[in-house]
Symmetry: C2
């Protein structure tokens, strides 16, 4: 497919084939039985137990066994040490020969009485103690003088000081760490029985899927779920195998599943989002084996399916990437650990307060991704978008939690136990930024990370940022708000919405203007043009500094927002607005020059504005704040930022008291 002049795909999707409608209706019916996640796990577990599915053992070299799980307890084949050994550098003696020795009346031993030993040497025959070289005086005639009697077995490492032969070195079910590797080798074990890693084969399905590439066409979806899930499998200790993409062809899918079941311990079918593949999956699984689960009351992830084929579990994971990740976590992970005979490890947890109300339908287990940070004494969790298609949300999330099925939601301020996706310390140490989005902030994040500091930023618009500061939910807020009365940026808003002493640090001045298609085909020059019927606009969300700027100018020029086609179409970032223009679904949006430039759009400047970080005084000493201030005066950083286009960092780092 090619992209037409409008930016829309030139060729329409195939018109509905005869029967497609009925197929969809049929497919929808299959979901009638949605069960709880617990019930899904219970059904699968019971069926697998009945089928005798489970762990298997193999014997491998100890030197290659890091991270593997012992299948049996392993005992010492030899003692360690396996002979009585000198524990010091010095001489080995008969303790009895030294009795009576003291500082005032040293005992002398002749060459026949002592034997020189290094640490680790076997104790020579007939000797039962060692004396350190520091405690001896060597006489010219080859005798040595001793100033204290040696106790029997002094400075001798007994056989088995570390481990005695036959003793248990490592119990069954132990994940082997470096020290276990050492203890096994020390006790004469060169091989170790371990639980076999489960082979997990992942089958991507769908006509729309293509291999990863930098230039997919419209309608082509890059197949990456296999890489995500198989990376998870690798982390959990399974053995990942990727099947090539299977097209929407019933027989091809059936053959692929049947073959994979033969060579795997677990098979995963990843249903594409297309009509055919989900439909085929469930029928293929039903034909080859027994479908136990089809539909689970979770969000996202409802179309999950599970079957037992040939005594082995076959999971059907839905195709939206967050659904895939979540259902892998909920249903595949326990299978991998079960095969390894290990409990599923729990993620580190953190109690936090929800920063806003969440609703959720009764009867559904709802998955929530959150940004988490410690602001003052509070640990706060800010919910992120809940879209199932947004894999980047799992990149940006600090943690996740579930709204249980018996709750219709959670109130603002509710305590939640967050399962962390990053190390706890990293989360607690992060600087929490809520507010307007700016591309320089992304640069700042990379630089802070190099210094071991994190930046947890959420885009909520300038006003949203000030509100978050006021409520103690963020350390800093990026703001660029033009005060209609004074024509000055930020100060008036901070005074009005924050209500406590703060400082404003200038990140930079940036050009704001109209982002338009290359060559500005609609000839947009000013705010008046937005009211033209042939101009489709795309707006920012309420509270965004750019929206405030728009409203200010519309008012000045006497344009009624109702006249602007697209005034109510809202995006949350400059780049999202630019993308709408670039794709041709809009003709114009207001935003920064760097975003227009990034997507190859033309830019009609409107104004230069001051983008500042608002920092309440109590957070001024946060290490992240200090690191940002240093960065802003660093010439290399300024040059890097200005290269983005439309930024002026000459006064970056300027501090204003509010």
């Amino acid at each position: 497919m090619t992209v037409g002049a409008s930016g829309l795909p030139a060729a329409p999707a195939a018109s509905p084939s005869p029967g497609a409608w009925d197929a969809v209706a049929e497919r929808r019916k299959i979901y009638l039985e949605t069960i709880t996640a617990e019930e899904a796990v219970a059904r699968l577990t019971a069926a697998l137990e009945a089928a005798g599915w489970g762990t298997a053992a193999e014997v491998i070299p100890v030197a290659e066994a890091l991270g593997r799980v012992t299948a049996e307890g392993v005992t010492a084949r030899i003692s360690s040490p396996h002979y009585p050994a000198a524990a010091v550098d010095g001489i080995a003696v008969r303790a009895a020969d030294t009795y009576g020795a003291s500082e005032t009346s040293p005992v002398r031993l002749g060459p026949g009485q002592y034997v020189w030993v290094d640490t680790g040497d076997p104790l020579p025959p007939g000797r039962d103690a060692c004396i350190m070289v520091e405690d001896l005086n060597r006489l010219p005639d080859g005798q040595v003088e001793i100033y204290a009697a040696a106790a029997p077995w002094q400075n001798v490492r007994p056989i088995g000081e570390d481990v005695v032969a036959t003793e248990l070195v490592v119990p069954a079910g132990t994940v082997l760490r470096p020290q276990e590797i050492g203890a096994l080798l020390a006790t004469g074990n060169v091989a170790v029985p371990v639980r076999r890693r489960p082979v997990v084969t992942f089958i991507p399905t769908g006509d729309e899927l293509v291999q990863p590439r930098p230039d997919p066409g419209p309608g082509e979806i890059i197949e990456f779920n296999s890489r995500v899930v198989l990376s998870l499998v690798q982390e959990w200790g399974g053995e990942p195998r990727r099947h090539e993409i299977v097209r929407d062809d019933y027989e091809a899918l059936k053959a692929a599943v049947a073959a994979a079941v033969e060579t795997s311990d677990i098979v995963v079918v990843n249903a594409g989002s297309s009509a055919g593949s989900q439909d085929y999956s469930v029928h293929v699984l039903g034909e080859l084996g027994q479908v136990l689960v089809h539909g689970v009351a979770i969000r996202p992830g409802k179309p999950f399916m599970a079957a037992v084929v040939g005594g082995k579990p076959v999971l059907g994971l839905p195709g939206y990437p967050v659904s895939t990740w979540l259902t892998a976590d909920l249903f595949l992970k326990p299978l991998v650990y079960r095969f390894l005979g290990l409990p599923v490890p729990s993620r580190p947890r953190l109690q936090a307060q929800l920063t806003r109300r969440l609703t959720s339908p009764m009867g559904v287990l709802e998955f929530v991704r959150v940004k988490v940070g410690q602001v003052g004494d509070r640990v706060v969790a800010t919910p992120m978008g809940r879209g199932a298609g947004v894999i980047s949300s799992l990149v940006r999330a600090d943690g996740v939690f579930f709204i249980p099925p018996d709750r219709e939601g959670l109130e603002e301020g509710a305590p939640v136990e967050v399962e962390l996706l990053r190390p706890r310390e990293e989360v607690l140490r992060s600087l929490v930024a809520v507010g307007s989005h700016d591309i320089i902030l992304d640069l700042v994040e990379s630089h802070l990370r190099r210094r071991g500091l994190g930046l947890s930023s959420a885009h909520a618009g300038s006003l949203g940022g000030l509100v978050a500061l006021r409520r103690g939910e963020a350390h800093v807020a990026g703001v660029h708000m033009l005060d209609e009365a004074s024509g000055e940026y930020n100060v008036a808003y901070v005074r009005r919405y924050l209500g406590r002493p703060a400082r404003l640090v200038l990140l930079g001045r940036r050009d704001q203007g109209f982002m338009v298609q290359p060559g500005n085909p609609k000839g947009i020059r000013g705010f008046g043009d937005l009211a033209r019927p042939d101009v489709r606009f795309v707006n920012r969300q309420r509270g965004a500094g750019t929206r405030i700027l728009l409203d200010y100018h519309l008012k000045q020029e006497g344009v009624d927002p109702a006249q602007v086609d697209g005034y109510r179409r809202e995006e949350f970032t400059h780049l999202a607005v630019a993308a709408a223009v670039a794709s041709g679904t809009a003709d114009c949006g207001l935003g920064i020059r760097a975003a227009a430039r990034a997507l190859g759009l033309d830019f009609v400047p409107v104004t230069q504005e001051e983008y500042e970080l608002c920092i309440p005084l109590e957070h001024w000493d946060h290490p992240g704040v200090q690191a940002i201030r240093e960065l802003l005066t660093d010439p290399a950083f300024r040059a890097e930022a200005e290269a983005l286009g439309g930024y002026d960092l000459r006064d970056a780092g300027r501090v204003r008291e509010v």
Copy 2:
């Protein structure tokens, strides 16, 4: 070498070579300059900075990048989605065509007005909204009926909903997780710049070293430090390489180090315990480069050395396995992470109370391994032995901490912050057993682990166990103490030493007797024989049930302990006593039949005793206690235990109230 009739090595160690003495004296001098661990790190860091040593980058396929660290921030090459897409199965329409539709006055669209779409399909040209199939009524003439107006862009995934082209997907310095792999592929990145893993070459040195094997001869030490350290390197993200063992030959070691420096980023020389290798190491490093550190005020690990050769760090780790592990952790780990551009991750920590006083010399950073457990509301840390040769201590330890150089020790009850070596939850959930050692307890540990429960057991003798219970430092204690007055086991002691209600659970009856060399060459029949001058005895520590048994019988037979050769030679377990007899360094010890049998000794029975677990009532409901009780009545477990020899489990699980 072969083992002589006495059990001692038949050939003595080489007699001191001329000059050996002086070499040793010289070697000792080299330690004169012991510096602090901080100073050692600072010197090395400064020298490496001056040499420009550090991170390097390479570009690799994203699909192989799990766990790697981004060398630069990675931006989206394409938006995700990269075209406006249907977000539902249904029809694509012009929103304007649907205006006015309601339940009472539906709008009808003809086949030319709508296009059938599946989720993920590109939005067809000229359409700006989608309507779910569930919200439609299909009429026989091919028209569809709509009951609500569609808002523009409803059910359309905008371009860049997930990520907009040019947006930062992953900042520099990010450890790539499965979700980052997905986000990179989704945004058209098929390759990613990552920091190169540092190549760490480990050179084991020493004439005494042999490759891992089940049958080393006396004086041969199995080389396993390389496997431990290189496993650590693997866990940290470095690329481990093992050099073959280098003998104690100056030129060979020099050649090996010089070659390794060429092909590695970090070189580790592991000095054996022999006289030559340490000596050679420091001189080789001094000849090839600059020795910065030789001697650090830590225990164990004092002989650590560090040099810079050809601009690269070369570390000399001392040979005792705990010293090797500790110096790798303190000095090698920061280098690996520095090369990767990552902060050193900290271990999970837990506040605990020390169960006994520890002393430590001023000026030395002392490494302490501890068993940790939660008993009631208290988290307690019980110090383990501090031997540098005991790799098994790192297997059994739950955590570690340091006594700082400015402290001469820590008092009993002192708060310590333990760095955990196991997951926090596993440590807190473990059943803590202190007391007499029994081989069945090892079996129990393996079985509990299969049930996801841990057993943290420390050998402190029966009496030590009761004291630990009384002080709230353990949940259960294994006891077998014969009361001289009543001739009954355990009850009297528990009443006397515990001082609160408890239950005794019979683990089993076991045979106690004399462990002697095969064929009983000294003809030991009774306690009277222990006083014979030709009989060398090996005893158990004070407080051990077996020591109480010995003292009881010696008293009954009127034998003075002073007459028993070896009465003061103490070991801490049955197996350690058996090992002393098996090695020929003692003729006889008192202990259980299973230990004698394990090491192929003959056994002269003395009595059958009751080995019980004492459990204070407040710990009766601990999940571990309940699991043990179930286990003890399981016929399969009983059979497994009785197969060890000398055990009678007929009444196992019997409960007595005390």
